[in-house]
């Protein structure tokens, strides 16, 4: 099985890094994501290593790193599925004290938990860190952060850490 050919059959947007055996499939249309994922799974990529986002000024790239345990040929191959979504404009609101609150709305992408159940915790983590709502995730709750972090999305680049105002030494 030539993995390169098989992958190019699935998607034309294939970035190959031969030296490190890294492949990256870029998905431009959100509706195609689950179909592509299913055909990748049928190739033998059977688990998700990591689900993460990369924050850019105007967009968010969501990356699923998948790999294989069951297929002997695919064990040494890393495959990334990348999908980029545009970020909505942040809304600025001024409250009664005159503080400006920036409301940064989350983005929505389809969830791949139905394809790869192993991504369930990783998708929860990407949700709380980047504000990526995985549509179709069965249990999309906060994993590590407390609930009152909602809306801050700590790993986005415009997140600013505010020190607690009262500091007792």
């Amino acid at each position: 099985m030539n993995i390169k050919d098989e992958l190019s059959k699935i998607s034309t947007n294939l970035v190959i890094d031969e030296k490190r055996a890294n492949y990256k499939i870029i998905i431009d249309e959100p509706s195609k994501l689950i179909d592509v994922a299913n055909s990748i799974k049928n190739l033998g990529f059977d688990h998700v290593v990591s689900v993460t986002g990369v924050d850019y000024p105007d967009k968010i790239e969501v990356i699923w790193h998948v790999s294989s345990y069951s297929s002997e040929e695919l064990k040494g191959i890393d495959l990334a599925i990348s999908m980029t979504v545009k970020k909505p404009e942040p809304l600025k609101q001024t409250d009664a004290q005159g503080n400006i609150n920036v409301n940064r709305p989350p983005v929505t992408v389809p969830s791949l938990v139905s394809v790869w159940p192993s991504g369930i915790f990783s998708e929860r983590e990407a949700f709380e860190m980047f504000g990526i709502i995985f549509d179709g995730h069965p249990d999309l709750r906060y994993l590590m952060l407390p609930e009152d972090f909602y809306g801050t999305w700590p790993l986005r680049k415009d997140f600013t850490y505010q020190k607690p105002k009262v500091f007792i030494e």
């Binding site: 998700v48 345990y69 369930i120 590590m144």
Partner: protein
């Protein structure tokens, strides 16, 4: 024992409301939980559902690393995986080296493998010890932690620190083998081989341990693959996968070793596989110390940047000092990922560089995080007393999962 629930959808649909179930909050301040909370729904003595609530020791390592110079992430990733520091260090440095395009010299590769294998033994002993205390055997806990000591002494002799070694840097390693290391290592390895027999009598083949672990927490091969668990736990379920074999790094492509696998995938197999891996690591350390080539321990690109004082130090003390490059490192734009087989499983790094002095995106996944499905899937249907057994057998380390 009632039927085990393996389907995630079924699991989410269990109605756990109502007075029929006892809800136990195991943790975060509980002797058997570590720094995490397990919310357990009990039907009598049978576990119906477990919801792991992690994040009590979330240390924002990704956030911190994205706001620091590249070299400063080395101590950060080490402190997340305290029993496994070398592997975290190694995985990060491998990723940075891929971005930089530096290849370390062979001696450095062998030294990396050497420290990694010593660290693997300490990590497995740590796991066996914690498993011991979870089942109530304080002897195995003390023994395992005591037997880490000779290996930690070896690490101290080589790197100058016991746990947080910061030994591996982009381009090579920081210290060469000291005098007398090989003899000492051989003594320690022989000691450990003898001790493994003692462990067998008092722990591995103890009838009480066998009664507690055999057929408890079974994860079948297909489920292990589906849930994406890693490391010794995966191999205990019968999947032949080891990052050292399938994504060779350091000196592993030149070394001859076996990857033990088990068949049943229960807690007892997960215990046995750690013992087997300690044996393999002992074999590997012997091999490395025999085969280790002479030569530089740092890549030429780094060596050429050393100033005369540093070069003198390198020749006399076999110690690599940092050129200014280490502070002002700016890997070219691009992305790289690397995988390393740590003691508990596979560490995955994904780093995106924009050619800046900080990493643009620093993503890493630790083995314990990927072993989380054990709590939600494998515990269901077992008794409450089996929860510590499963917890201990998967060698879960909460700070590592939280990152």
């Amino acid at each position: 024992m009632s039927e085990k629930v393996y389907n995630i959808d079924d699991l989410q649909n269990i109605n756990v409301e109502g007075e029929k179930y006892i809800i136990l909050q195991i943790g975060p301040s509980h002797p058997g939980s570590g720094h995490m909370r397990l919310k357990v729904w009990l039907d009598g003595d049978i576990i119906v559902k477990v919801d792991p609530d992690i994040g009590f020791v979330h240390r924002t390592s990704e956030w911190l690393s994205e706001r620091r110079e590249w070299i400063k992430a080395v101590p950060i990733v080490e402190r997340i995986m305290l029993p496994d520091t070398v592997h975290a260090n190694l995985a990060y440095v491998l990723t940075v080296e891929k971005l930089l395009g530096i290849e370390p010299p062979p001696r450095a590769q062998y030294l990396r493998s050497l420290v990694a294998e010593i660290n693997r033994i300490t990590s497995h002993l740590y796991g066996i010890g914690i498993f011991g205390i979870f089942l109530g055997s304080s002897t195995v806990y003390m023994w395992a932690f005591g037997d880490r000591e000779p290996f930690i002494d070896l690490m101290e002799m080589l790197t100058g620190a016991r746990i947080t070694t910061s030994y591996i840097i982009p381009g090579g390693v920081r210290w060469d083998l000291p005098n007398g290391f090989k003899e000492r290592a051989e003594t320690v390895l022989q000691y450990m081989e003898r001790r493994l027999k003692d462990y067998e009598d008092i722990w591995v083949k103890n009838p009480v341990v066998q009664a507690r672990t055999i057929n408890v927490g079974t994860l079948k091969k297909e489920d292990a693959i589906r849930l994406g668990v890693v490391g010794p736990n995966l191999r205990a379920s019968g999947v032949y996968y080891d990052t050292r074999k399938h994504h060779p790094y350091a000196a592993y492509s030149n070394l001859d070793f076996e990857v033990p696998t088990m068949k049943n995938g229960d807690s007892y197999d997960r215990l046995l596989i750690r013992v087997e891996e300690i044996k393999q690591s002992i074999k590997l350390i012997r091999q490395i110390l025999k085969d280790i080539p002479e030569g530089k321990i740092i890549a030429d690109q780094i060596y050429n940047q050393l100033n005369p004082v540093m070069k003198k130090n390198y020749e006399e003390k076999k110690r690599v000092m940092f050129p200014a490059f280490m502070i002002h490192m700016r890997p070219p734009a691009g992305e790289a990922s690397a995988k390393v087989e740590a003691g508990r499983g596979e560490i995955f790094f994904y780093i995106k560089s924009t050619g800046d002095k900080y990493p643009y995106r620093f993503r890493w996944v630790t083995p314990s995080f990927r072993n989380l499905p054990y709590f939600t899937h494998v515990t269901v249907g077992h008794r409450l007393a089996d929860l510590p057994t499963i917890y201990g057998s998967i060698d879960y380390f909460p700070p590592e999962a939280d990152r």
